[in-house]
């Protein structure tokens, strides 16, 4: 069910029109959305990017300050565009284009069919799938994606590179895959955890393409070396551009050590606001270890379904990273429809979607009560972030259950449609 070009053009034109129309019809909306804590975190906020650009163009190092935490390569990119506070059109066009490119990459992933059938694993329900157009539309017209695009959060750029890396891995294009994954890691650091499952996916597709298994060790070594070289090059170029290595502390250091406790939808900010000083470093270590621990476990257990592992990891990033935003959840929710064949096996879809909806409607309201009305306190918004995280983690856990149940049907077809137990 590949997307034909006419259908695709219509879909993309509609998505672009909606975005540009919203930008044009509500000129104040982008700045309002950019100020929302749910959409803009200290590491992805467009306002902070503008501040960094201002300092950069006025020859002040943006990293010699506590406001700008974006990577340095964004500075020359965005300084090419006219000032967004006076002439926003070029910036709006850029963010619309980023969304369309992401949708294009998502369509390529859907077209490849790797979600349900890989070299080593054929889902018994692989006929059950949504069309590529529906999946792309689900991404492009998702209110979370739209809001993120309007807020011009730089997470959209990270999402684009993650989706491109997945698409390239599905196509077996090694070089472009490495470029995309290193760009994503360079932008947001945690996408590097997607490298192992996507490397497995790339291995499978290369294997299919070449009709002969390449040496697994050599394959891993070459690609890891490529990743290291590309990331190193990006960092080196950044250091030359920024004039020093100070940017490492201001970008990745901030993600690792969480000095900026601006509220967001994640679990870290309030925990570390309330944390006792002597335990702060210990819990920072534990929390990061926790995020990193999912990659090996999932990759080993579900090595036959690497695309599913990568999807689940994006879901985990949306919950457990230090500065998650709705944009991360939008990426996960864009990838979940690829696994339409698992939906019949999921048990708590209602609970999870109700929790996510509940949090998305009450979150802004409770934040308002805390910060503006003063009639609520920080616990109101904190409680909502807990519900949001719980909703997403139910979704992640439930889809994982469905994937494993689906796998069981291949291994033991006699258990199909029967009740199972975990021992």
């Amino acid at each position: 069910m590949a997307l034909d070009s006419r259908q695709k053009a219509a879909l993309f034109a509609a998505a672009a029109a909606v975005r540009l129309l919203l930008f044009q019809a509500f000129p104040l909306l982008p700045d309002r959305l950019a100020g929302r804590v749910e959409l803009s975190t200290p590491v992805s906020s467009f306002k902070r990017l503008q501040e960094g650009l201002y300092l950069y163009t006025h020859n002040v190092s943006p990293y010699d300050g506590g406001v700008y935490h974006h990577p340095p390569l964004l500075l020359p990119l965005f300084s090419l565009l006219p000032d967004a506070s006076h002439h926003p059109f070029a910036t709006n066009l850029l963010f619309t284009a980023i969304d369309l490119l992401s949708a294009h990459a998502l369509a390529r992933i859907a077209d490849s069919g790797h979600a349900a059938a890989t070299r080593l694993f054929q889902s018994p329900r692989q006929g059950l799938r949504w069309s590529t157009a529906a999946i792309a539309a689900g991404f492009l017209f998702n209110p979370f994606t739209l809001a993120t695009c309007m807020a011009r959060s730089t997470t959209t750029l990270t999402n684009l590179f993650i989706l491109t890396a997945m698409a390239k891995a599905c196509q077996g294009a090694s070089a472009t895959f490495l470029l995309a994954i290193s760009a994503a890691s360079y932008l947001a650091m945690h996408p590097i955890l997607l490298f192992p499952p996507l490397l497995v996916l790339l291995y499978h597709t290369r294997n299919e393409k070449l009709q002969a298994a390449p040496n697994a060790w050599a394959f891993t070594a070459v690609h890891t070396l490529g990743l290291v070289l590309l990331c190193g090059t990006l960092l080196l170029v950044s250091a030359i551009l920024a004039g020093s290595w100070d940017f490492l502390e201001a970008t990745y250091g901030v993600r690792l050590l969480l000095p900026d406790l601006t509220p967001n939808v994640g679990l870290w900010w309030y925990f570390f606001t309330e944390m006792f000083d002597s335990f702060r470093d210990f819990f920072l270590g534990v929390f990061w270890l926790h995020v990193a621990s999912y990659t090996p476990g999932l990759t080993i257990r579900l090595r036959t379904q690497p695309l599913f592992v990568a999807t689940t990891l994006t879901g985990i990033f949306a919950i457990f990273t230090p500065y998650p935003s709705v944009a991360d959840a939008a990426l996960y929710l864009a990838l979940v429809p690829l696994f339409r064949h698992l939906f019949p096996l999921m048990r708590y879809t209602f609970v999870a979607s109700a929790a996510v909806l509940y949090a998305s409607f009450l979150g802004p309201a409770f934040y308002h009560l805390w910060v503006y009305a003063g009639s609520g306190n920080a616990n109101f918004f904190y409680a909502i972030t807990l519900v949001w995280s719980l909703g997403l983690s139910i979704l992640v856990g439930d889809s994982l259950f469905a994937a494993l149940r689906d796998e069981l049907d291949v291994q033991r077809p006699e258990l199909r449609d029967k009740e199972v137990k975990r021992i």
Partner: protein, 589 residues
């Protein structure tokens, strides 16, 4: 209406009366200048100045210079020091030009800046920390809280007042404590630095109850080296200044019964033109008379004669001056010998105090036909926070140039705490009368979380008779719960902006022309301080649910429900356990 006599400007007067050339010998001068301000306010300007020759100062041979302060300055290699303790606001609209053109005024709270001799910035900062910690002990103030986050190195706003042979290794450091409450415990050490220690001379009038009750008060200490024109004969000069604007009616209240009582309505002159005027409703008319007051009432203490260290003859010996129109009656109550001196224009009367006996000035209530000319400020400045909520806001500074002819060139210095994060790309300076950009120069050092504060210095030009509006957005950070003070919901103080006028007006001496806005109160978002444990537990629970569920799925194996014995309730569990126990003891079930 009072017809205004054209009289000497108050400031030109104190400038020439109190700024003699540097003397190479140790000496001591003091002077109190009283000047009635509109709205029944009295401005009292105390000035104490002592000298020590540079050679004696280096050898720690202190005579008039206080040893405690001198040793601290030598230990911290401080060449020039300016320390201010201030409370209240100078009402420039009604009171006119500031005393000393703002040069002896400080930001609300405590302000300190010093030129420190050091070879490197790091060494200068280490000496600065030594200095603030020592001064903290000397003045019973929390000066030790001036750390790296509150220290800036201004570029345009301050110039040294003294003569320094080598400026290249002098480092200017500046710190403000806007939240510091200035009170009696700071006045006592201040008085102890004086040679007469508040026992005699004009300093005997300084009383904590009245000083800190004033609508505006500032205590200043300035230490600077001064050299004669040849640069050979140098002295270290220490100047202590107290300016206070007293509300006469308020300070006349007796100390044992300070609660004000309304005057009986019969005694109040009512505005009968008001529609609501009736026997029990009155809109009081402005009294056309100057209020009656005397020194012992407004200061709460008598003036205990002259300090014996002051000069005994010449204009330096006249230590008490009052600046009033000539028609104002001033009675001197004393049993001792005093002399009165009248200036040529009759607006200034100075008195040489008797030694050993008390002196009191008594001014009766009087209907005046003439008044004094008030100096007009060079600039008016007001600063406020716009916006609502605890997430973000914007700062707006409104600076007005009243002069119809002169464009004023000035610097604007902001030193903001790190948790107030300004967005410089939103900085707009806008002048009402012209479209030209008034912003000429910007110096900006952004804050780093928990390491240093923001330092923003601008040079602006404001055209004649126009208003400049300066605007920028900022974001408020949420702090760790241990970083909040006990009264977190009161808000955090942001220091005032400091404006220095560069031209075309010039001060007669090297002190410069300054203006300070009021501080800002910043309300930050606060976490719930009562529940660190709850937050740790609840967050950990959600993480454990996520992790536990996934971990469980990954490590366990699926089997059909009918392939394992179903555990049915408590009974089955107990039976299972019993079976296990029996098996262990080797008995078959």
């Amino acid at each position: 209406m009072l017809s205004f006599l054209s009289l000497l400007l108050f400031h030109a007067l104190i400038a020439c009366a109190l700024d003699p050339p540097a003397h190479a010998s140790p000496d001591y001068h003091e002077r109190l200048l009283l000047r009635p301000l509109p709205q029944d306010t009295l401005l009292a300007t105390f000035n104490f100045r002592s000298n020590e020759t540079a050679a004696a100062y280096e050898q720690q041979n202190f005579r008039l210079f206080p040893r405690s302060l001198g040793q601290i300055l030598q230990h911290a290699h401080t060449k020039e020091l300016h320390l201010r303790f201030s409370v209240g606001r100078w009402d420039a609209d009604n009171w006119g030009q500031r005393p000393w053109y703002g040069a002896r005024e400080g930001s609300n709270g405590v302000e300190l800046w010093a030129w420190i001799e050091a070879d490197s910035e790091a060494e200068a900062f280490a000496r600065w920390l030594t200095l603030v910690n020592n001064l903290s002990g000397l003045f019973c103030a929390s000066l030790n809280f001036i750390d790296a986050t509150k220290t800036i190195r201004p570029v345009l706003s301050f110039e040294p007042e003294g003569d320094h042979a080598d400026m290249s290794n002098l480092h200017l450091l500046h710190g403000i404590l806007p939240h510091e409450v200035v009170c009696t415990e700071n006045l006592t050490p201040f008085l102890k630095l004086l040679p007469c220690k508040g026992k005699a001379g004009i300093s005997s009038l300084l009383d904590g109850h009245k000083l800190f009750d004033a609508a505006f008060q500032t205590m200043a200490i300035d230490v600077r080296p001064l050299c004669d024109t040849s640069g050979q004969e140098c002295v270290v000069e220490m100047e202590q200044t107290v300016d206070m604007a007293l509300d006469i009616a308020r300070s006349k209240r007796p100390r044992d019964n300070p609660i004000p009582h309304p005057r009986p309505i019969e005694d109040i002159e009512c505005d009968t033109s008001k529609s609501y005027n009736s026997p029990d409703t009155c809109y009081p008319l402005d009294k056309k008379t100057e209020p009656a007051w005397k020194l012992t009432h407004v200061f709460g203490k008598p003036l205990r004669g002259a300090c014996p260290l002051t000069a005994t003859e010449g204009p330096e010996s006249e230590t008490l001056c009052i600046n009033t129109p000539p028609e104002r009656t001033v009675q001197v109550n004393t049993t001792g010998q005093y002399t009165e001196w009248l200036s040529a224009s009759d607006t200034l009367r100075c008195y040489k105090l008797p030694t050993g006996t008390e002196l009191d000035l008594v001014l009766p209530e009087q209907h005046m036909t003439t008044g004094l000319v008030r100096g007009q400020p060079h600039l008016y400045a007001a600063r406020s926070i716009n916006g609502h909520g605890q997430e973000r806001g914007s700062v707006q500074a409104v600076i007005k140039n009243p002069s119809p002819t002169d464009a004023v060139d000035f610097t604007y210095l902001e030193s903001l705490p790190w948790f107030m994060k300004p967005y410089l790309h939103t900085l707009r300076a806008h002048v009402s009368t012209s479209s030209e950009d008034p912003l000429k120069e910007t110096y900006y050092r952004p804050a780093i979380d928990r390491i240093r504060g923001t330092h923003l210095e601008l040079r602006l030009v404001i055209p004649p008779a126009s208003t400049l509006i300066l605007n920028y957005d900022f974001e408020k950070a949420i702090l760790r719960y241990t970083e909040y003070p006990p009264d977190a919901n009161r808000g955090f103080d942001a220091p005032p902006a400091i404006i220095r006028i560069l031209g075309p007006f010039q001060s007669a001496d090297r002190k410069g022309l300054y203006l300070r806005t009021t501080p800002l109160l910043l309300s930050l978002p606060t976490p719930d301080f009562s529940m660190p444990y709850n937050v740790i537990i609840l967050t950990s629970t959600v993480m454990a649910l996520g992790f536990g569920n996934i971990f469980n799925l990954l490590v366990r194996r699926f089997v059909g429900a009918d392939e394992v014995p179903a555990a049915r309730g408590l009974k089955a569990i107990i039976q299972g356990q019993m079976q296990g126990v029996r098996a262990r003891f080797g008995r078959a079930p």
